[in-house]
Subunit: 192 residues, 2 copies
C-alpha cells in the first residue's frame, strides 16, 4: 500500500552511475543527481538515503555491467592472444574516443575514495579480483592450447594483465593519443 513510486529505481541508479562515472563522487552534487534522474530531492533521499548510499548502488551497477562486458569479450572465439589484443585495444580506443575521458569507474573510485572509504575500497578490490580471475582463466586456456608458455604462472600473468588494464584506463584520463597505449599493449603481449 501507499503511494507507488513514480520512477524506476533501477533506471535512476543507472543514471546516477553515469553522473558519478563522469564527474567522480565528490564533484557530483545532489542537484546534479536530481537533474539527471528527473526526480525531486525529497524522492532522491527517500529512495536512496544519502549520496553515499546511492554511489554504492551505482558502483555495484557498474560492476555488474562491466563483468558481463568483459566476459563477453574474453569468451569470443579465436586464438587467445588475439582475443586479448582485441580486448585491450578496444578498451584503449573507447577511452580515447570518450569525449568525457571517463576511464574506468572502478579505477577512478580507487583513486578518489580508496584511501578513506574502506567499503568502496573493498568493492573495488573485489572487482579487481574478478577481472584478474577472468584474465587468469584466459591465460590458462592459452596454456592448454600451447599459445602461452605453460611454464609461467597463470595467476601472475592474470595479475599482470589486470595491472595493465588499470594502467591503461588511468592513462585514459589524461590521454593525448593512441601511441602510448598501443606500445603498452604490444609490449605486454610480446612478453607473454
Amino acid at each position: 500500500m501507499g503511494r507507488p513510486k513514480q520512477f524506476d529505481p533501477d533506471v535512476a541508479v543507472e543514471r546516477a552511475m553515469e553522473v558519478f562515472w563522469s564527474k567522480g563522487y565528490a564533484a557530483t552534487t545532489p542537484q546534479d543527481l536530481v537533474d539527471a534522474l528527473g526526480i525531486g530531492k525529497g524522492s532522491l533521499y527517500n529512495a536512496f538515503g544519502s549520496k553515499r548510499e546511492l554511489f554504492e548502488r551505482a558502483l555495484c551497477r557498474y560492476r555488474d555491467g562491466q563483468a558481463v562486458a568483459l566476459v563477453e569479450l574474453l569468451e569470443a572465439g579465436g586464438p587467445v592472444k588475439e582475443r586479448l589484443r582485441r580486448t585491450l585495444h578496444l578498451l584503449a580506443e573507447m577511452d580515447l574516443a570518450d569525449p568525457g575521458h571517463r576511464g574506468c569507474m572502478a579505477v577512478n573510485t580507487a583513486a578518489e575514495l580508496g584511501a578513506e572509504d574502506e567499503r568502496a575500497a573493498e568493492l573495488v578490490r573485489r572487482m579487481f579480483d574478478r577481472t584478474e580471475g577472468a584474465f587468469r582463466a584466459l591465460v590458462e586456456e592459452g596454456q592448454r592450447t600451447g599459445e602461452i608458455n605453460a611454464g609461467r604462472d597463470a595467476r601472475s600473468l592474470g595479475s599482470l594483465l589486470l595491472n595493465t588494464v588499470i594502467g591503461l584506463r588511468l592513462m585514459g584520463r589524461v590521454a593525448d593519443g593512441p601511441d602510448r597505449p598501443a606500445r603498452v599493449i604490444d609490449a605486454v603481449l610480446d612478453g607473454l
Copy 2:
C-alpha cells in the same frame, strides 16, 4: 622593501603538497591548508592566489622530488634487471607501508582532475613522459649489456614499465597485501 614574509614559501608549498597528496584536491579545504602551513588565510591567498594555483605549485614540487628519487634508484649500480626489480619492489612496499595509502600524487591527480583540468592533465602527462623516458634509458642500457633482448623495442618496454608503475601505485590506494603487486612485478620482469 615592504614587510618581509614571515614564512618560507618553499616550505609552505612542501607542506601543501603533503596535504593535497594525502587528501586529494577537492577534499582539501583552505582551512586544512591554513592549519598545515601554520599561516593565516590572508597570507595564504596573498602568497598563492588561490587553492588551484597552490595545488599546481604543490604538484610541480612533487614532480621535482620524484624525478630525483627515481633517477637515483635507476642509476644505482648492479644488473639492470636487479635495479628494476628493486625499484618496483620499493615502490610497492612504500605504498603498502604508507598508512595514508597516498599512492602516487601524479596518478591520483590524473584520476581526479585529468578529465576536467587540462593544465593538470598536461603536467601529469609530462611526468609520465619523463618516467617513461627514464625506464626506456634503463632498458637500452640493459640491451647494450645483453641483459635484455635487443630485438625488442626499447620505447615500448619503457611504456610498459611506466604503465606497470601506474597500475601498481593505483592499486596501492586499495591495497590489501603484498601478493598481487609481487605477482605483477614477477610477471613483468619475466616478460622482459
